[in-house]
Symmetry: C2
Subunit: 297 residues, 2 copies
């Protein structure tokens, strides 16, 4: 039984008769092949990547597992269409907080049509793609006090400037109300999600080391998907976040031809700096609290 | 007594009554302030940078020393004009081999005029700026067999594709004739110039580490200047190259506003990969030679 995914934060949505991804109960994600060549291109990337012996073993975990393509009943009611079958990255979580970050200081690439170039560069300038080297495409956090998800509107997220991106990355790991615009995000989960040996930063640094040398692929217009579960932290403490980093969306991947993906790498480094800054501010905050305790009455 | 510099490989040249930089015999370089606000902007950058306490001490050596501005007789015969006074980077060399590499996958930046954007993006696409994250602006090598300099034409260099950039970076450190298009560059000086603890790669890696964290400046349209002397290697061997890396051209530097310069960093990483590839190929070549000796008759 295929259903509309509950935790998708960006991309086409299978709703109101539109074509979009579907999931099953066995933790699989079905992504319909888009009408133009992009869907086929993405399927070819997964074929190439999953069997590429030059991709180090430890890098494969940062990509969704690929199970080939399959004809299934499409969400738009147009009968059976080919879908890429992948691991559903969020299937292991009951209430995942999810963020989609499109990496790179441009989403266009050499030899695209003038029309596509113009469309991309306009959006790249309007969003933080040019200024930051990445943009937030969408996110949701689980508000455990309200027992419900909070998700800012797509339009709002795409209008973020540098400061709102910084704020959103703090909100994403905070336990106080995301809807109260007066409260400063407390970053209660920052250390468990972003920090530590299994956290987001550690995973991003593994990817960075690979991107400094890999010349196999250029990941144009790809996203980093971050997932974690804040309830797990509250219940188990410490290592309960199960923070995951995955690369997704490969409709525009090109052959690297012996050159590193400097566009992705530059944006990744910028994103890493934002995560580091938050961890550092949390560290300083804790130190202040401790020194206040030391100097207390 | 001010003279036209002998070893300039890119930028405006003080010839035929045109405005360009001058040098004196005391190793100083005089760069005229360009008519629009760019010259003033560059002077302001040098003022800011040279007194900026947040720039680590060990980073200052990668920038020309700044001596303020001075009114001197301009090269275009228009009387005394303000010039930025700097260390002449090549003054310590008798026959320097010089290369100017403009770093970044774009030379435009947010909030420039549409006209400037269009001019930049056209050139960025025509050169390797978009594809490689850097482009060669010009270079010259000293041909010690001919006792003369070899310098490819500016137009030719700007037309380089990925393969010709790779070849030029090999030619730049080779001892066989640069004019003979049939001979494969032997990379005789690669280890001394690019490698070792004082070589180009080591210097680039210091810069990379700083660019991963520095959010003070965005170095739009800046170049890395490489200088070395091949005769010194031939005479002294080993450490005689005096390979130097300097950042130059700061007319388009902007405030970093808390964000890293992902555009420069991405391009720098791409350039580093090219240098590493050459060093690795030289290493393999030496190993092959050694093993051929081992297995010899």
């Amino acid at each position: 039984m295929l259903k509309v995914p509950k935790h998708q934060v960006a991309g086409h949505i299978a709703r109101d008769g539109k074509l979009g991804p579907l999931v099953n109960d066995e933790g699989q994600f079905f992504k319909p092949l888009q009408g133009d060549s992009r869907g086929q291109h993405e399927a070819e990337f997964y074929e190439s990547f999953s069997s590429n012996k030059n991709v180090p073993h430890h890098i494969h975990r940062y990509f969704p597992k690929y199970y080939g393509t399959q004809l299934v009943l499409a969400s738009n009611g147009c009968g059976r269409l080919p879908h890429i079958v992948l691991d559903d990255v969020v299937s292991g979580y009951s209430n995942p907080s999810v963020m989609d970050v499109k990496i790179g200081s441009r989403t266009w690439y050499p030899d695209v049509s003038e029309e596509y170039f113009n469309k991309c560069i306009k959006k790249d300038k309007e969003t933080t793609t040019v200024s930051l080297g990445f943009r937030l495409s969408g996110f949701k956090t689980f508000d455990h006090q309200e027992s419900s998800f909070w998700r800012p509107e797509k339009k709002l997220v795409l209008g973020y400037n540098v400061d709102s991106v910084r704020l959103a990355l703090r909100k994403y790991v905070s336990s106080n109300s995301p809807t109260d615009s007066n409260s400063i995000p407390n970053c209660a989960f920052a250390f468990e999600v972003y920090g530590g040996s299994n956290g987001v930063l550690a995973q991003l640094l593994v990817l960075k080391a690979w991107f400094e040398i890999q010349t196999l692929y250029h990941f144009n217009s790809c996203s980093i998907l971050m997932v974690y579960q804040n309830e797990s932290i509250l219940m188990k403490g410490g290592d309960g976040a199960q923070a995951q980093v995955k690369l997704v969306d490969f409709a525009h991947v090109l052959d690297g031809n012996g050159v590193i993906d400097h566009n992705f790498l530059g944006g990744l480094c910028s994103f890493i700096k934002f995560i580091k800054d938050i961890l550092q501010s949390v560290d300083q905050c804790n130190e202040t609290n401790v020194s206040q305790l030391d100097n207390g009455p």
